[in-house]
């Protein structure tokens, strides 16, 4: 194994059920590439952002919002994306909330949300038909999706913003107390595995082994632990397209 050691991290919006999958993936990756990689998982977006700014990260499974920043500001390059997997968000209310559709929500509602930037962006867009925006709503930032659910159940917020997968991974007991109001169907934005400047020399090899991962018995098992079917290559133009998309989405109508 090479003396060089890299640091990997995962966007803090991963579901708790798959934490072990990422550790297994890291072990598989080190063995396959013959390089040392330390997996560091951060509890929240701000501590991960700090590590990125301090150039501590070499390999990251990034959400689409952060991926744009990593390319533009930190010189990261896309490697692969999970196959047939797009980022979708869902707006949820307490099961007894009077709103039956987005347009029923009045100005001044309170929103429970994590710091997840792309989920917040998608959910804010889904509130636009009700003319709700950051200026006429009150956002309560909460550290995790289970706590967003708790805030709704305890009627401490009118609506909650969730990553679709995070909502689905809540217990049935919790979901019985909640009601989805609207789900996104964007289809074209997704997480991406990216390498930083120190790791670009092995980018092509990394991409090759990851694309072939699903075909190998051990690789397929690791992917299953992460809840992915396979990885597929992501090139620079696809990345640029997603950056353009995130740019169009970041505008809120007056």
């Amino acid at each position: 194994m090479s003396d060089i050691s890299y640091q990997m991290t995962v966007s803090p919006d991963f579901t708790p059920d798959h934490i072990s999958g990422w550790f297994i993936f890291n072990t598989w990756l080190q063995k396959t590439l013959g390089v040392g990689i330390h997996l560091e998982l951060y509890d929240n977006f701000s501590s991960q952002r700090k590590a990125i700014v301090e150039d501590e990260i070499d390999l990251i499974y990034a959400n689409p919002y952060d991926a744009s920043m990593l390319v533009r500001e930190r010189g990261f390059l896309p490697v692969v994306r999970p196959s047939k997997f797009s980022d979708e968000a869902i707006i949820v209310v307490n099961k007894d909330h009077q709103a039956q559709q987005i347009e029923d929500l009045p100005i001044g509602i309170s929103i429970a949300a994590t710091e997840d930037p792309d989920v917040n962006l998608i959910c804010e867009i889904m509130l636009e038909p009700a003319e709700l925006n950051v200026r006429n709503t009150k956002k309560i930032t909460i550290s995790s999706y289970p706590l967003v659910a708790k805030a709704l159940i305890q009627n401490k917020a009118d609506v909650g913003f969730f990553l679709h997968d995070a909502y689905n991974s809540l217990s049935n007991l919790t979901k019985r107390e909640l009601r989805p109001l609207v789900s996104s169907e964007i289809q074209v934005i997704h997480h991406v595995l990216m390498v930083g400047p120190r790791m670009t020399t092995i980018k092509d090899r990394l991409q090759e082994v990851l694309i072939g991962m699903a075909e190998k018995p051990r690789g397929a098992g690791v992917l299953k632990a992460m809840n992915f079917a396979a990885w597929e290559a992501m090139d620079g133009e696809e990345m640029e397209f997603m950056i353009d998309l995130m740019d169009t989405l970041s505008y809120q109508p007056e």
Binding site: P129, V182, Q187, F241
Partner: protein, 156 residues
Amino acid sequence: MRDMEPADTTGDFSEKILVFADGSRRKVLVTEKETLLRDGHLIVSRTDPKGVITHVNNTFVEMSGYSEEELVGEPHYILRHPDMPAAAFKDLWVTIQKGTKWHGYVKNLRKDGGYYWVFATVIPNIRKGEIAGYTSVRRKPARKKVLECIKLYPNL
């Protein structure tokens, strides 16, 4: 671009002639049937620098009434509705050709002569300092804004 035929539409229609900025003309048959963009859905498309469609997502196909094969290769103005003021599209092209984003409320024409309202954002795709094409994202607008546009657009 092909003129619309009565067989394309359902119900009563009125006939209009559209003249586009490139000088081409199209006969369109418009109906009063509105289709609402579903909550949470976004229409996404990309064009080349001349505005010819290169990519569409499933929601674009569903809302326009055309198949993906019918859309790719056609000018984006295949969706132009005669109720839209020409000034809006002139502003769009002037804005995006300068390399900046354009936003606006747009009434689009469906293949069957019906229509749908969107809030559209168009962004130039800058690659190596040049405009390589445009990306457009259209989302569901607030109804109040649509009603304002219905009042304002005939006077523009």
